[in-house]
């Protein structure tokens, strides 16, 4: 953009102006194309939040491509066209500044970032209405559901217990516990996030949502899955030795399948759930020189259905 404003006060030939406008047009086209491409860099959209986040990211990609392209164009032009001739030891014409230009290039970024900020605040507000942004309700989960319309109150709250290093999901009404999270599609769900030990991060990339799980707090967290499939839940806040292995699968399925799974699960006896860390810790203890010190993993949670974390996942 400084390219255009920088040159507008300089004498420029008709041909030059056409070339400049053509270049700006090409940059705009590139920015538009990049904004469309940006959706492909992200995982599948599997929650109500995902399209909102992706839309904002696409807009930022478009604006960012244009700004980056414009700055790099100026740099490339200068490097190609404004190099000193060989043996030319003289100085260039001294231009010490230009107040009008400085005002312009303060105002344009200001307007641009404020436009992005307003857009982002609106997305924040929508996400808040949809649920995920409102949390920190200690004790009583029913009270004050963060702008949540009463008729869309989630049927059930799922308790998520994060540990070093496993995820346990409990469905109190059905009296089911599991290490593979099952959710019905298109139904709002509320989680109660608690940690037994250290900070963890409840992060499902396909949902575009993330919430730290903080020891000493019970955090309410709402979302609505919108696409059936198998997705990864990853620990996003460093939690120690087996942090990277602290993953679980999230299965989003139709309401019928979900109910069937829940009923079947309730009939299963308790058994050890999934914990990759426990397995690796056992192998590691056999080694003569395993490495540096570690906290031992918590024993695997006792659950009705361990599920799986090795099946192919959509994101």
């Amino acid at each position: 953009m400084s390219n255009s404003s920088g040159r507008s006060r300089l004498p420029i030939s008709g041909l030059g102006l056409v070339a400049l406008l053509g270049w700006i047009g090409a940059l705009l086209a590139l920015s538009w194309w990049m904004a469309q491409q940006s959706y492909r860099w992200l995982p599948v959209q599997a929650s109500t939040a995902a399209p909102l986040v992706d839309g904002l990211f696409s807009f930022e990609t478009g604006v960012g491509t244009f700004v980056f392209g414009a700055v790099v164009s100026v740099m490339a032009w200068v490097v190609l066209m404004h190099r000193a001739e060989k043996y030319d030891e003289t100085d260039a014409e001294p231009i010490e500044g230009n107040t009008r230009l400085e005002v312009i290039w303060t105002a344009i970024p200001f307007v641009l970032v404020m436009a992005i900020a307003v857009y982002a605040i609106r997305v924040n507000t929508s996400l808040g209405v949809l649920g995920p942004m409102e949390h920190i309700h200690l004790a009583n989960p029913v009270e004050e559901q963060g702008g949540y319309p009463a008729d869309r109150l989630p049927a059930e709250q799922v308790e998520v217990i994060a540990r070093q290093w496993s995820w346990e999901f409990r469905y109190p009404k059905a009296n089911v516990s599991t290490t593979e999270l099952h959710l019905p599609v298109d139904q709002p769900v509320t989680f109660r996030l608690v940690s037994d030990d250290v900070l963890h991060g409840f992060y499902i990339p396909a949902f575009r949502l993330k919430q730290d799980v903080i020891p000493g707090r019970a955090i309410n967290f709402n979302l609505t899955p919108t696409r059936e499939g198998r997705y990864r839940l990853r620990d996003s806040q460093f939690s120690g030795t087996w942090f990277a292995a602290n993953q679980a699968d999230v299965v989003v399925e139709s309401a019928d399948d979900y109910q069937a799974w829940l009923q079947n699960a309730a009939r299963q006896p308790l058994q050890p759930g999934l914990s990759d860390a426990v397995g690796e810790y056992g192998e590691r203890k056999q080694l003569k020189n395993p490495g540096w010190a570690t906290v031992p993993p918590a024993p695997p949670p006792q659950v009705n259905v361990p599920g799986s974390n090795t099946l192919p996942h959509d994101a």
Partner: protein
Amino acid sequence: MTSATFPSSPPENQSWNRYFGFNTDAKVIGIQYIVTAFFFFLIGGLLAMIIRGELITPASDLVDRTVYNGIYTMHGTIMLFLFIFPVLNGLNNLLIPTMIGAPDMAFPRLNAVAFWLVPIFGFLLIASFFVPGGPAYSGWWSYPPVSIQNPLGHFINGQGLWLTAVALSGVSSIMGAVNFVTTILRMRAPGMGFFRMPVYCWTALAAQSLQLIGLPALTGGAVMLLMDLSFGTSFYEAEGGGDPVLYQHFFWFYSHPAVYVIILPVFGIFSELFPVYSRKPLFGYVYVSLASFIIVGLGLIVWVHHFFTSGVPQWMRNLFMVNTMLISVPTGVKVFAWLGTIWRGKLRLTTPMLFCLGGLFNFVFAGITGVMLATVPVDIHVSNTYFVVGHFHYVIYGAAVMGIFAAIYHWFPKFTGRMPYEGLGKLHFLLTFIGANLNFLPMHPLGLMGMPRRVSSYDPEFAFWNVLASLGAFLLGVSIIPFLLNMLSAWVRGPKATHNPWNAIGLEWLLPSPPPEDNFGEHVPTVISRPYGYGTGEPLVEHQAEIERQLCLQEAST
């Protein structure tokens, strides 16, 4: 007539061993800082090679997970506290007194103490590799409760040594900051008002003021963490009524501004070098100078953007998002000012200029991903993923380290009296620029796909971009070879440098290369115009022609 004895001849006592002792000459301390920093840079870089070696395959198969966690923690800690801050303090020591015409720093002994703390806490940090249980493994943030778990239960443990080292580093940096701020405020040459001060000094003043404001929070937070770890307090432990998120406030209240402590002097370097190698004055000098302080003000009120996901209320998310985005305005002003500076210049693509241009390219890219990260909804998705790792490596390696290399090539002749080799320098630039982009660009798609940072293993769908990133990292590892070769060989037997090999304007270029111990001594020139008078024909100081003639005569006679 009166200046017949000026400039004084360089002192004879130029022996090597003064670099290994307690010396109070800022120019010696500056070189001590820089050489020490690059020693630790090699260690930190080696750790980075191990990290990228582990991550070239999805499984955790190169080192044990505990070892990986210790190594990534130490990589970050060493690069920040033992490389980038010391190397910048080295540049401050070399440049501030010579640029403002001071004989030395305001408190030379304090200056030397601040430096000697660096090898001391560096030793502590490296020693933590050898204590039972290994070094700290909780990341350079050291968030509790992970950081206070102390698996072996020993009183001497990696995390404890880490916290002691960080606290000592804070003390050293505060000592340095007091010195730099005082020197800039009180010891400028006659005639050098604030608006005749080189931009590097403006940015150093801004950055060091930030250190003074922010560091007490980090140092205090670290001491409290050490007490939780070693003496059973519970500032951050939920069971004892503490709050782990409190630590995040203390930590980021300093550690976000710390990014500006790093990048502001690099903005200063860009502002010094673009005019020299474009042969034009800095575009909008006053605005560029003041923008540093706007960045300081805003930089102090953005820290919460580092933990949008830790349960902060909506209004706070929005407020800190807007503050963060506002920083792009003064930063944009600087970028446009540099473009205005090189526009219609007469560019000389020397090694320092190439590093500046490459650094600017990377910085603009980092700025754009920075605005993306500032917006809360996008940040919720990509925070704590490789997107963030890519972003800040573009800032710190792509922009800051490249700016530091530019500064080293540019001022090397001034402080060693020898010219670095252009061919090796350009090779170094090429490898660094390609390596950095190959290493750090693939981290962005990885983060968007949802790969968390700090993982020692990952799902196979992330493999492709990780292989590219690792290849880039190994290229960066190679890129340091021509640099070291250049520096060592040029320092020992490079061609002799004149007092002003780049034909640059500035007080430091009116000193012999290398400058005598007390710089201008009694004969500090009087500054009569703004810096960067390229093409204006205005002299910078009174009797400039005479001073330069004396320097040339002196050079001809040796």
